[in-house]
């Protein structure tokens, strides 16, 4: 575990640290499962990190701890120099499903976090900003449509807007596009990169697609199960901005192969 922690620090690109995890562990008491053990990582300002691993290796648990939804059993979780002891305003979260509420228009869904935080008046005032965000994700003109009329990809774009409206310091993404078809997913990933770059956002992505992890990230954390832990930290030194064409370069192929190897070693252990 110490080795993994040391590796993390080596792999971290230089920059102001935003989010720090030190030796985080989680045991689900109910069935005595060690879901996480000794996870240490540092997210620097404006960086994009991905965590990849087979299902059941603790990715969602890690993200829930980072978002303050559940407490860790051990370790230290610090965002912007303040320990995370519950849900926080400076954390934005995205789920596998878009989770838009069908009785609210797209615009009303996007300003919902503001409405909850500061009331209806503030939500009304945030609508201008919400419109700008809709334009940023290419949903201009859909302000007053209801979610039932949005496609899966459009719904996820709307939920990106909802995540961004509170201007969070860190974006936590739990397999956000895995319910979309492959063409849409590739496209959404490029959109995500563009949005993160334009806002200098710090992002942490959970995925089970190696390609997705490599094309988007500065660092990929490879996780292994039982107990869930970071087994390898892979820095991705592809130039930015990334394009879908890069997926055919030898460098990309090497990185994918390397990560697949790391995961396979686990699968056949």
């Amino acid at each position: 575990m110490q080795a993994a922690a040391a590796l993390t620090d080596l792999a971290t690109p230089v920059g102001e640290p935003v989010y720090q995890l030190r030796n985080v562990g989680k045991t689900y008491a109910r069935n005595a499962i060690v879901a996480l053990e000794g996870v240490s990582l540092t997210l620097t300002k404006g960086s994009f990190s991905a965590v990849i691993g087979s299902s059941g290796c603790g990715k969602s648990t890690l993200l829930k701890i980072m978002s303050g939804l559940i407490p860790p059993s051990t370790g230290r979780v610090v965002l912007q120099n303040r320990p995370v002891t519950g849900p926080r305003r400076d954390i934005g979260m995205m789920f596998q499903q878009a989770v838009l509420f069908p009785w609210r228009t797209t615009l009303e869904n996007i300003v919902l976090p503001i409405e909850i935080r500061d009331g209806k008046g503030a939500a009304k005032a945030a609508e201008t900003q919400a419109r700008e965000l809709l334009e940023l994700v290419g949903l201009k003109g859909f302000e007053n449509t209801y979610p039932s009329e949005l496609s899966g990809g459009m719904a996820q774009r709307a939920s990106i807007c909802r995540m961004l409206i509170t201007e969070p310091a860190v974006l936590l993404l739990d397999e956000p596009f895995s319910a979309l078809d492959e063409l849409t997913r590739d496209f959404m990933n490029m959109e995500l990169q563009r949005i993160c770059t334009s806002r200098n956002a710090t992002a942490f992505l959970v995925t089970h697609s190696i390609q997705e992890a490599v094309i988007l990230s500065d660092v990929v954390y490879v996780m292994k199960p039982r107990p869930g832990r970071v087994a390898e930290v892979v820095p991705i030194d592809l130039p930015r901005p990334r394009t879908l064409d890069m997926m055919t370069t030898p460098k990309f192929g090497e990185l994918v192969e390397h990560i697949r190897g790391a995961l396979d070693k686990e699968a056949f252990k």
Partner: protein, 288 residues
Amino acid sequence: MSNLESIADRSPAAEDDTVWTEETSWLDRVPRAIQMLFVFVVFVLLWDLVTRFGLVSRIILPTPLETFYDLIFVGKNLASGGYMLPALWITLKEVFYGFLLAMAIGFSLGVIVGETAFGERAIMPYLVAIDTMPKVAFAPLFVAWLGFGIESKVALAAFIATFPIIVGTAAGLHAADSNSRNLFKTMGASRWQTLLKMKLPMALPQVFTGLKIGSVGVMAGAITGEFLGGGKGFGELIRTAASQLNTPRVFSLILYLSVIGLGLFAFVSWVQRRFVFWHKERVSAGGE
């Protein structure tokens, strides 16, 4: 490229359109009003045959025509402000107050039972136990407690209609998925905000299902109350007519009551369509 195009052009589809229609029964293609009329006519014909050939005594089953004449008689009486109008008015009041009471109690209890762990663990078992009792059997109690006036009927009507509303509300509050709950948590929403802005709206389809079942029960409660506890409503008119073996009158009074019941049901459905516009109803029989 041009090669590909020429291959595409030679496909058989280019020569003949393969437009075809799905097979549907001719009965399904008839407009709905005509379908309903058809069932009605068949029903009345069967009814008429049964009475015409004396298969059933006239005293037990009047002819359709007798019933029709009595419907007109009762209609005229009501329209001209005859003695049946105050009776109708009383039953309407019982149904109205009963439903109002059932909504207030059912919704409040439903929220308590559906939202709090205490309510679910400690209160729900008792509600389930009471719900399994034959509620009509409480009628004499309500009469003993509240007298022969409208109050005992309102109480029975409300008592019957409350439970589906409780169950609908409680089940609806459980409908929120874990993603929505987690989203509200990460947004830092209070319990009250989560209830008002997420759980209750999400519960509405099931709340309305409970309201619809309740709207049917409230009518049954009011009439049963009148049967068992006297009073001066429509139920009493039915009871009197039945004791005089005036079956056409019983039939026509029941039909007028069912119009009221339908009206209440239709009103609840209308409110539902207005407020739960976002909820998709299940597809009808035979698919899209």
